[in-house]
């Protein structure tokens, strides 16, 4: 391994860290709160204030570790949305460190480690998810560290590594079910065992025992979830996104091609074509580290295909953690090119093109998310469609102002999700504001709202399509309400409308 001075490595990592935090924190609150973010942040607020709700996420079949980390940040950060998003910012930073160690260990090259970390810093998909209060950045972090420790375990076959790996796997499976891949994929790291003559059997037996210990600890930590009465909901919720085996066997390959094509589209969009090309080149440019490259590809490919096979409802974020194993491959090719290409100008040009694509996407994400070149479904979900909470902040200020002069009642379209959850985040401490969600929306206004309007000023918020709403994002025509405010989505012809219920 070529040695670099600690100072040089330290300076490079420092520069990468600064760049990382600039990219992750710049305008981090510009993107409005997204439905799922609102739910997770609200859970964290509730769990923070009431210890009997520490497992609240399980009521929706979600593992709790993201919420637990958000609780810690809610103690120090006043803005709830920022607190939630900072969980991902910190997770992403730990992923940068993890990728540095992974690249360094896997290819015995500090430079590849640094390039892997750099690629992550400007990886558009990471930029999106490290800036959002969603589970995926945290899952990515646990998976990268699991993989790094898996590699270490295969190479060193040591108990301390197994014990730490077990804890990291445990952290992962407390975050999201797909982190179980870090257990399922463990056997493939056998490819990395040091095959010393005559010692293979002994090493393999020892490795098997240690891998067993790591898995045991991982499962043991997962069993913490059994302390909640809602443990069983995880499986029920998984069935929403993944076909249970029995159901899948009836149509094993029906969705495979469609899913694969969709996933591949997201992959290419987020990786960008130059980086994708660098990844493809990694196995062919040099035979060196063939086993390591194969293991990286397996850790990407098997979960990717499994998702395509079993996936029922897919979102781009599901492939995030898988794509992280491709970055060291791209780093390998860049390192190889820099050693082989005598023409520095050409090398510079290749790197410039590579990073230009990435930077263009990154710049878009942090300045104009709604038009950024990322996967369309993400752009729509997080910015351009009704699940994005455009107007939440402004309308919260509006309600607070109204509540300053007396008690008000705020009704929302929807009982779970963006509404009324995001208002609960910002307004539930205000004693003058009473919140309640309504669903489904009928042609006639609920009696309760009419009665309430007699007692206090009553508002209704509409923000998503509904069967009885003639105009999307507006109240049904028969409702006795007056529009008092409207907040437009800057990227789409969608908006949020606030009405005041007329007194009878």
């Amino acid at each position: 391994m070529k040695t670099y001075s600690l100072k040089l490595i330290g300076v490079t990592l420092f520069v990468l860290s600064v760049l990382y935090f600039v990219i992750r924190l710049f305008n981090i609150l510009d993107l409005p709160i997204f439905t799922d973010e609102a739910i997770y942040i609200r859970w964290a607020q509730i769990a923070k204030d009431d210890a009997s709700w520490r497992f609240i996420s399980l009521t929706d079949g979600k593992q709790p570790s993201f919420v637990w980390f958000a609780i810690l940040l809610l103690h120090v950060v006043t803005d709830p949305l920022l607190a939630g998003r900072l969980v991902s910012v910190i997770s992403g930073f730990l992923t940068v460190i993890g990728l540095f160690f992974l690249g360094k260990e896997l290819f015995k090259s500090t430079r590849i480690g640094l390039i892997s970390a750099a690629l992550y810093v400007v990886y558009p998909m990471a930029v999106v998810y490290d800036r959002m209060a969603l589970y995926d950045s945290l899952v990515g972090m646990f998976m990268v560290w699991s993989f790094y420790l898996t590699v270490l375990l295969a190479r060193r076959v040591r108990l301390d590594v197994a014990l730490i790996l077990g804890m990291v796997i445990g952290g992962g499976v407390l975050t999201k079910t797909n982190a179980f891949f870090s257990i399922y994929l463990l056997p493939f790291s056998l490819l990395l065992l040091e095959w010393k003559k005559g010692k293979l059997k002994e090493t393999a037996v020892k490795w098997t025992m240690l891998a067993g210990i790591a898995s045991f600890i991982g499962f043991g930590i997962y069993n913490i979830l059994r302390l909640s009465p809602f443990f069983h909901i995880i499986e029920e919720k998984n069935a929403l996104f993944v076909y249970p085996l029995g159901e899948w066997l009836m149509h094993p390959f029906r969705f495979l091609v469609g899913n694969l094509s969709g996933q591949f589209d997201w992959l290419l969009t987020y990786l960008t074509i130059p980086v994708f090309a660098l990844i493809l080149l990694a196995p062919v440019v040099h035979i060196k580290f063939a086993r390591e490259k194969l293991v990286l590809l397996i850790w990407f490919f098997l979960p990717f295909v499994a998702l395509a096979l079993f996936g029922k409802t897919l979102y781009p974020r599901f492939i995030f953690f898988m794509t992280l194993f491709l970055l060291p491959l791209a780093a390998f090719t860049i390192d190889w090119l820099s050693g082989r290409l005598k023409n520095r100008l050409l090398l510079g040009l290749i790197l410039a093109i590579t990073f230009a694509f990435q930077m263009r996407a990154v710049f878009g994400i942090i300045t104009e998310f709604g038009t950024s070149p990322i996967a369309q479904s993400d752009r729509n979900q997080y910015s351009n469609d009704w699940p994005a909470g455009w107007g939440i902040k402004e309308s919260s200020v509006f309600f607070e102002k109204e509540a300053a002069s007396g008690p008000i009642f705020v009704a929302t379209q929807g009982t779970f999700g963006l509404m009324p959850t995001s208002y609960e985040i910002y307004l539930s401490d205000n004693k003058n504001i009473q919140l309640k969600g309504y669903w489904p929306i009928d042609q006639t206004i609920p009696e309760e709202l009419l009665a309430m309007s007699e007692e206090k000023t009553t508002y209704v918020v509409f923000y998503q399509p509904c069967v009885n709403c003639v105009n999307r994002f507006e109240a049904p025509v028969g409702w006795p309400v007056t529009e008092v405010a409207r907040y437009d989505n800057p990227y789409r012809d969608s908006y949020m409308t606030i009405y005041q219920v007329k007194k009878e």
Partner: protein, 510 residues
Amino acid sequence: MASLGFIQYINKYRFFILSILFIIGLYFFLRLYDLTSLPLFIDEVSYVRWGILAQTDATQRFISLTDGKQPLFVWIMWPLVKVFSDPVVAGRMVSVVSGFLTIVGLFCLTKVLFKRNAIAVVTSFIYLLVPMTLLYDRLALYDSLVASLTVWSLFFLVLLVRLVRLDVAILLGYVFGLGLLTKSSIQLVMVLSPVALLLSPGLTKKRLLRLGGLFFVSIIIAFFIAQIMRLSSYHHMIGTKNTVFVYSLSEILQNPPLGVWFTNIHDLSAWFVSYMTLPILLIGILSFVLIKRDTKEKLFLLLMSILPLLSVVVLGKLIYPRYILFMLVTFLPLAGYGIWALYSQIEKKMISLALIFLIFLPSIYIDGFILKDMPNAPIPQADSLQFANSWPSGYGMMDVIRFIDARSQEGTVYLATEGLYGSLPTTLAAIYLEHNHEVVRFPIDHPLPKKLPQELMWQAEKHPVYIVLNIEQQAPSTWPVQLVERYRKGKGEYYLSLYQLKLPSSPSEK
């Protein structure tokens, strides 16, 4: 070739292997023999009830925290409730299993300290026979589990100071963490961990720093594991409950409880001697002089046994004999060493064996009582009263339950029990009768009211109504009740009494 090697190995270590098998066999015989003969006493009743509730109702997984008790004992019991239909067995099996792990841990600790299989085997054998370990391995209490985790903590602590390795530090952290999930007393072992530096081969600054770092890792892991209890809204109850049993530093500084300290010294030393038996204690102390080697190792064991005892003397507000179990167990390798030294120092082996037999004789004598006649067992009175001869003892309650169960075959029966939370009759009735829909349980708060609750009076007109009293030795004279049966608590002066509510209009007996 390989099989020949195996046979040679067996031949070479034949005596050792046979000893181990004998100890294992005798362990389970002594622990399981007539395991249910002693009825559950009051604390066991609560723990067993918690175990059942935690298993059947997922919202009650942290139920022990409502009483300020850590949850690990209850969690270990949770799968055992599924396996054993008898709740007494399920609860006590936690201690049987813990005790077995203690014996394995003691073997490992002794072996790693003194590097001799013989001392490890003798220590394990002493563990089998010491009255305190025999008694507590047969009770559904936290203390056997605490002792087990203490022994394993010490084992990893010794390994850590000798090997200075990360894996050992992590494992030590796990054991400490499990200890924190069991009982606060494990903190004494954590605080006293630096004593293990005695065993470090050469203490350079670099080694000390590395050890410090690794120990920090252990503490962090333990801390994280203990945070699991924050998932319950009753986490704070542990601190609240501890103040009942332990003096805070400010309390001691402001008003040193000298009287309590003297009582504590007297009680703890008496319990220690009584439960260890004098010969075993003496041979443990004599281990220092019989063979003047391994002094640091012996000193380590002595300090890890005595210092927690002194801490309890100073900090203990309300103490029970069970607190000393883990300290007593820590002392046993010294006794093991002493017996081994005695055997190897005396040339005439028959004499040494006879001496060793005499050393064990008092233990065997007491063990006989523990197994066959608990009320008369010569153990500390504080325990014999609790477990057998006073109101906390469970004698009589199973007879009442069988009686009520039989009566319920004929129709609805009301059973009023004395006491609400943590009451022996109320909790035992809940354990055994909650699935009997013909039995309506009716707890009456303590102290007993002068007038019986009106509900019972009404029901007595239609159904048989029985009342069980455990702490109060006589029903208030204002109650219209008739004594059905009295059950003596062991050989003590306390009785559990079963009354029937008798009104002129009550249904007549069939």
